[in-house]
Subunit: 235 residues, 2 copies
Amino acid sequence: MQEKPELDFPRPLTTVDVVIFAIRSDALQVLLVQRPKAESEPFPGAWALPGGFVDIAGDRDLEACAVRRLKAKTGVVSPYLEQLGSWGSATRDPRGWSATHAYFALLPEHTAGGALAGDAQWFAVEGEKVRPKLAFDHAEILQAAVLRLRNKVEYTSLPAYLMPQEFTLPELQRTYEIVLDRPLEKSAFRTRMLAADLIEPVAKMRKGPNRPAQLYRLKKAKAPVFFTRTFNPPG
Amino acid sequence: MQEKPELDFPRPLTTVDVVIFAIRSDALQVLLVQRPKAESEPFPGAWALPGGFVDIAGDRDLEACAVRRLKAKTGVVSPYLEQLGSWGSATRDPRGWSATHAYFALLPEHTAGGALAGDAQWFAVEGEKVRPKLAFDHAEILQAAVLRLRNKVEYTSLPAYLMPQEFTLPELQRTYEIVLDRPLEKSAFRTRMLAADLIEPVAKMRKGPNRPAQLYRLKKAKAPVFFTRTFNPPG
DNA sequence: ATACTTAGTTGTACAGTCCAACTAACTTAG
DNA sequence: CTAAGTTAGTTGGACTGTACAACTAAGTAT
């Protein structure tokens, strides 16, 4: 009989991965990193979600680890960040039983052009996928992230976090439409957004080749707004 | 330079916990287990969520581990089970950096009286809490589970999983009201449920001291239904 | 029979989306 | 200066589903 209950049984590998979304070139894009090409690494040279092992000396908690990964690849410090779920199994990593804690982040449009790590690159989301074949089960995680995002966009103000600091209502609507991949009604969209305690006009207009549009900004420190209906009966 | 990248750095402890809900005595209840009383254990004698370490030899994946834990404490094999999220930090377990993958389950009413493990007991959920002080950060996990459940009940058919095989619409409405902790409108509730492709009448009535009520059952293998509105503007 | 209770229905009001047509403000071409 | 084209923004009616309240239906108990 031992003093302490046994703790030296084998433990799964523990990682954190972040699905980082931004609007670029009028499309929903996701940031991927290329894995090292050494043959000793799993999935050498493949594209993968940014992430890696939890550093039990340096990371206070899971979210701190996600924030660290996000900052390392994008330089962005406090975007919208939400836990997505976890994936763990005996087979997802050839090195052994492993579990990953997945997060997803929404970057405002202007930050998405900033300081990128050298191994990182943006990819357009097509359907719920991305062109290259991803390492591990990252395609599945990405799909879950896209589905979660699309679903929440139906009844929340999440796309506001993808906008630059100042934006017009047609621009915001366009972002909704990009994420949902379907057109929305202009007047219903405006009614919904303006009724919510979400945005406020600034004393400027966006000028273009035709009628100028009112510029708005997010009310400060705004948590996402939840609406009580979805848009279109999506059926 | 080594052949393989290092993998022998310290790894966090990895556990799975399950928040198991059922309706008992006209109230929302949650199943807790008492921790061993040996002083060598963390939180000796305290109540905790059912769960424990992932067994990398026996558990194929996280969900299998959750199902195993659920079956061990309740005997139930395939109730509604949903991933809730994960909690990991340096301080949540005195034994060291630890991460738990939390699930929540909804048990149908009749199974909730069945074969309970000896160390397990049902507790009424009051607000988002339970009377006894819980081990680890389990109070926080329980709160997250209750909030998630309440929130989803506004626009899904989740409470149907808490019902016995056959039930009446007033009984289903009562379950909604217990979870939400507020009354709902009878006619709107009936309209919503009957319009959904969710339940079907059986050729029986529930008899009581007054007018009998039509009995229904879930249509087979029904995934939860999502409605496009919430109930009451909950404001 | 009458009162009481719960099941279930009916009808009106209301909120917010859907749809379509309209007005407003700007640029560019003649 | 005017007309055409484009996008911003508004307006009004149809429709859907909830809120609210009053009603009918079917049983028990007295």
